[in-house]
Symmetry: C4
Subunit: 212 residues, 4 copies
């Protein structure tokens, strides 16, 4: 169709797309802290009162920590994948925008889980949102690898990389399901999942990746 | 007048204007999520209570989604139009600042419509603000095309482009008017309007646009 | 003293200082809108109720508008002045940081004036804060012109520019004083003051400023 | 171990890491002002009422000022240290992310100390968080100096610099301890500590540092 063809037109400067994306990532991770509200105490509250109230915030601290690490991981993978592209077209910009939309949504499920940590629905929504974010990121990655990759990097890509990457969303969904049986199990799965993505992808085959 | 002449003086670096604009766009889209407040429930609320409260948030989710997409569209068109300019002068910077002022205003009508979705005034203010934003963007575009365009791009511009572009504000105003008859009709118009602007402008005449 | 000498050491990259400053400016102008809170109405409030509540927000809209324009003006002048510097040293970075500190403070007096528009103290604090900001900006400008200016621009600077620039803080302080007699007079002065700074500085003497 | 070896792989562009970091720094310093809430007064409150309420905010103003200056100092040192690196690897990115995580946490202890300035626990948490931030920064610095330093800068580094730098965390912890005896003493220590870091590091040995 002609309409779809037009999405592959237009060469956009990657620098401005990166600047906009970096802005969104930086704001998302920093806004997360706004959910850590200072507890409201009566005047002349004792040290013990304050300590007690701060300990009550533990689920909020954990949710904050978890979301911060995962958004940093997305930022890092985004950085890696955009480095593969030779330029950007409109299709890429829109996939990126939708991905950023759900990145910017992350403070909501984070606050929800922090507030209602004993409620399986709140905890499983958290996993669902991160599964969706990972899927959107994989769509962005697939689009770049298939249509916008720098010619010299074409042969360094593992053709099964995307398929293997589905372990991410599957793991978040597993955590979301586990929430209905055991909240700590869900938390454990959420903490383990990003660890698979914190190192650079293994170079494919025998190819020595000598990216500059 | 001498005063007006001074606005066309001063050559400003486009990179800093883009950085400032990208910052505003990124913060606007990310702040939108702050209106999605976690519902307040009594302690030990059941899964059904929470689910019910989240479903109640539907108008807020829709307003958020709509504004996010439209601001991304503005960012994309801004990116395109600034790519036409060879440099910036003070007139350009002020038009850009006023445009960004009303971009940064967007969280307010978004929250208003999300909160009072059944109130035609709230829903039509949303359309009015986006009509105003589109008009300000068109003023910025006209200023660049008439005074700051790169010489080599002069002949690739459709002289009727700006006039055709008035379909945007007209459509938002139509939605604003429709809100007084039917809220869902207004929403439908608001969702359709940005779709006209999500692909790059058609190359003008027989000219092959070979932008670099 | 040796301590002061060390502040003129260290060459810092202007690009990162600009990026940090642009970030602060962009966030300040965008946070201003957060003070425009959606009015709280009873359920099933009529159009007339909502319209009435929105009209009540007029002082907040005016404060927001005023602060937005003034911060944009500061950004523009900051952009101009940093363009004169050949590099940055530690003294410059600290002057810039203190200037940005009081820029980031602006949402507070803006909200205060929007909330208590009938209170002369609230209205005159607004003027006082902007007078302080202008003084800090002049300090930054003087530091650059005296110590960090690009050699080729040295002769294009009006030696009386800084002295003339004191009209800015004086005007804001006049507005702050006027608030105790007439609130509208204070507002009028606050609106007029930034207009003196929205065009580029007049080229000095007979020198043709051919900045690139 | 092979896992750790992979963290030293992957060459990432320093520009995007700087952009992301600058975004986080800029947002943190600007969000600090959100804790300075406009006081709630009855309608038709007198000037004296407002003045009284604003004076009550003094501890919040002091906390804001202190955190702003310290975050600017971290930004400045971050700028200096990243200038030493020839490129970035994954280990660096993760150390940087964890450092930024606790930078973004700063609004919380700032608000806590501003709200409960008479409570030794609140005041000592402030010092503890800044001690932790300084330690994380030192880890980042040590990583760069040992593994990523530009070859031409290797001999300009004082091998004892990191050890000497431990005076920072020690001083913040001293302030945290002092809070249990005297709140003003803790504040004094918090204000003095950053002053040790506001000038560039003294050039090492007899080497003339001729950085460009």
């Amino acid at each position: 169709m002609r309409l779809f063809a037009r999405f592959s037109q237009g060469e956009l400067r990657l620098t401005r797309i990166e600047a906009f994306s970096d802005g969104v990532f930086a704001i998302v991770v920093t806004l997360l802290v706004l959910e850590l509200r200072v507890p409201a105490l009566k005047e002349h509250a004792s040290v013990a009162d304050l300590a007690h109230q701060l300990i009550e915030l533990t689920p909020k601290f954990l949710s904050w920590l978890l979301s911060f690490i995962i958004v940093c991981k997305f930022w890092l993978n985004h950085h890696h994948v955009l480095g593969l592209a030779r330029h950007a077209d409109y299709g890429f910009v829109w996939l990126n925008s939708i991905f950023l939309m759900f990145q910017s949504f992350i403070p909501f499920p984070t606050a929800l889980m922090g507030e209602y940590v004993g409620n399986p629905l709140a905890v499983s929504i958290f996993g669902g949102v991160f599964a969706l974010n990972t899927l959107l990121f994989l769509a962005l990655q697939a689009y770049i690898v298939r249509r916008l990759i720098k010619p010299e990097l074409k042969h360094t890509q593992d053709p099964h990389a995307i398929r293997k990457a589905f372990i991410g969303p599957a793991s978040y969904l597993l955590g979301a399901a586990a929430a209905w049986l055991s909240i700590p199990a869900a938390f454990a799965i959420y903490f383990i999942t990003p660890l698979f993505y914190i190192t650079p992808p293994r170079p494919y085959g025998g190819a020595k990746s000598k990216s500059k």
